[in-house]
Amino acid sequence: MSDPLVVVRDLVRHFDVPQGPFRAPARLRAVDGVSLAIAEGETLALVGESGSGKTTLGRCVLRLIEPDAGTVTIDGVDVRALDRRALRAFRRRMQVVFQDPYGSLNPRMRVGTAIREPLEIHGLARGREADARVARLLEEVGLDASFAARRPHELSGGQRQRVGIARALAPEPRFLVLDEPVSALDVSVQAQVLTLLRELQDRRGLTYLFIAHDLAVVRQMAARLTVMYLGRIVEEGPAEAIYRAPKHPYTAALLSAVPVPDPDGQRARIVLPGDPPSPVTLPPGCVFHPRCPHPLKDDRCRTDIPALREVDEGRRSACHYAEQTTPLAP
């Protein structure tokens, strides 16, 4: 791997949750010491369920939320060291696409104005030149240039997400955080938007951090996969290798829970007991142990926090027993 474009080291973000007037606030460990790297032109998928910290992590990387500790380096620039003005200028290089384009587009603003705004903020184009850029961007995301005159409520979900992508692309970023970009869309529209995102990546050499909860969707996008559970990375590695043989029992359960669109291909599901615990009251030891189906689970899992370590070439796991060949579930 060449020098990574994005490097995150030991990132921490906690939130204080009020517990009532006479009680100390509880500490919610949304992101609890996460490190990762993304090569230029690569897609790294960040997968997890609600409360895993994936969205907070994505926002911390862009400093949309300020991290408490750790470093974020993008293209050699220490993002946390930037002052307000420098950060604003740097935002040109890193953009975000949200899940719900309806929530992120101003309902009263015409599509053209919404895409034009970042061009003007960053002083990239004005007047006719800006109009031409807006038209080109719309065409690039598969919409007719006439869409510039429409308002968000006149668009379908898929069209709104295309506008969201065009707006993110306007300042010509190199790095995009895609936060559940297709989760709100229907399956046929989902496939269209994923295809568009791949084409844009090839054409523009973009680097993606793709945040999602759906492993089947992720499979269409990412070569590399990071799985989070309760604020920590539990497994990381090449996507296809993880899909073939996960090295953490949580990943195995997540994979087995994805419904298979084939009545003849139904496989045994690992149904985990209970809900993910709240990130306010993390279990001691391995955070996954209360739900873990691993046959080797023992006292060590209940007391010692397993380190995320290389367990195979290019693969990291945070299970005490990742090096064992025992099946991950009965």
Partner: protein
Amino acid sequence: MSALLQVRHLTTTFDTAAGVARAVDDVSFDLHERETLALVGESGCGKSVTALSLLRLVEPPGQIVHGSSIRFGGRELLTLPPEDLRQVRGAGIAIVFQEPGTSLNPVLTVGLQITETIHAHERVPKREARERAVELLRLVGIADAPQRMRSYPHELSGGMRQRVMIAIALSCRPKVLIADEPTTALDVTVQAQILELLAELRDRFAMAMLLITHNLGIAAGIADRIAVMYAGRIVETAPTGALFREPLHPYTAGLLRAAPRLDGPARPVAASPGSVPPATAWPPACRFHPRCPYAWDRCRTDEPSLLDGGPAREARCWLVAEPLRRKA
């Protein structure tokens, strides 16, 4: 064998500023005893409005059009007096919605919401209703059921709330359970738990189930038969295995191709172009023709009915009548 639930020519319209939306348009199907039928399609195809119509829960400006018929156990539901209808809801047909957060009352305890439902349908002493409620909570896999009776919905996780909804739905021993996207709002590991629970309860109580879902994977795992909806109409029905092996309608085939999956090729073939049109402007003739890769003149001028496509199979597509065109 006559069907437990017989739906004929069901049409539900909404008067909107943009005109009349025929959200459900001449839909007919049967649901047999102990059968699980999945109603599959994308948003805006009429699946959920169909489910609501079955229990006459469509709110104005929506209305079920004259000429529609819903027969349950031999009785016509659309002309049933309100008191009888209330008995059918719950004791005959019960429904579980997608968002347990919004269908539970936030200021009442879980226990009260279950016993309230029992009292609404049956004259039973308070204590008996309470005992039944505790038993129901156990049945849906809630630990510490007696303690949980005193919980408020916000004290429960999404998965637990959905379990409570299922307990309420089962409280009057319905013959038909309608599950409208029951796991869409849940995390995937919790989704797996709820699907397993629904299948188990269905078998245990010999219920028929109408499952509304946009997820073909969920339908594949649980349904005996699948009806695919597009633009307010059923466009294909088939036994689950046959539908996945050989979809007859190009819309079904497109959905199958677009479904993200863990097996097979990592990058599925591109889906049908475009998206579901608005219900106020269904395309003329075959409603799928603007998005269909096979469409020819006939598709643009005449709408096919549901054509016989083999054992227990029907598809609303001219390709069934002219199969050679599929190769072209």
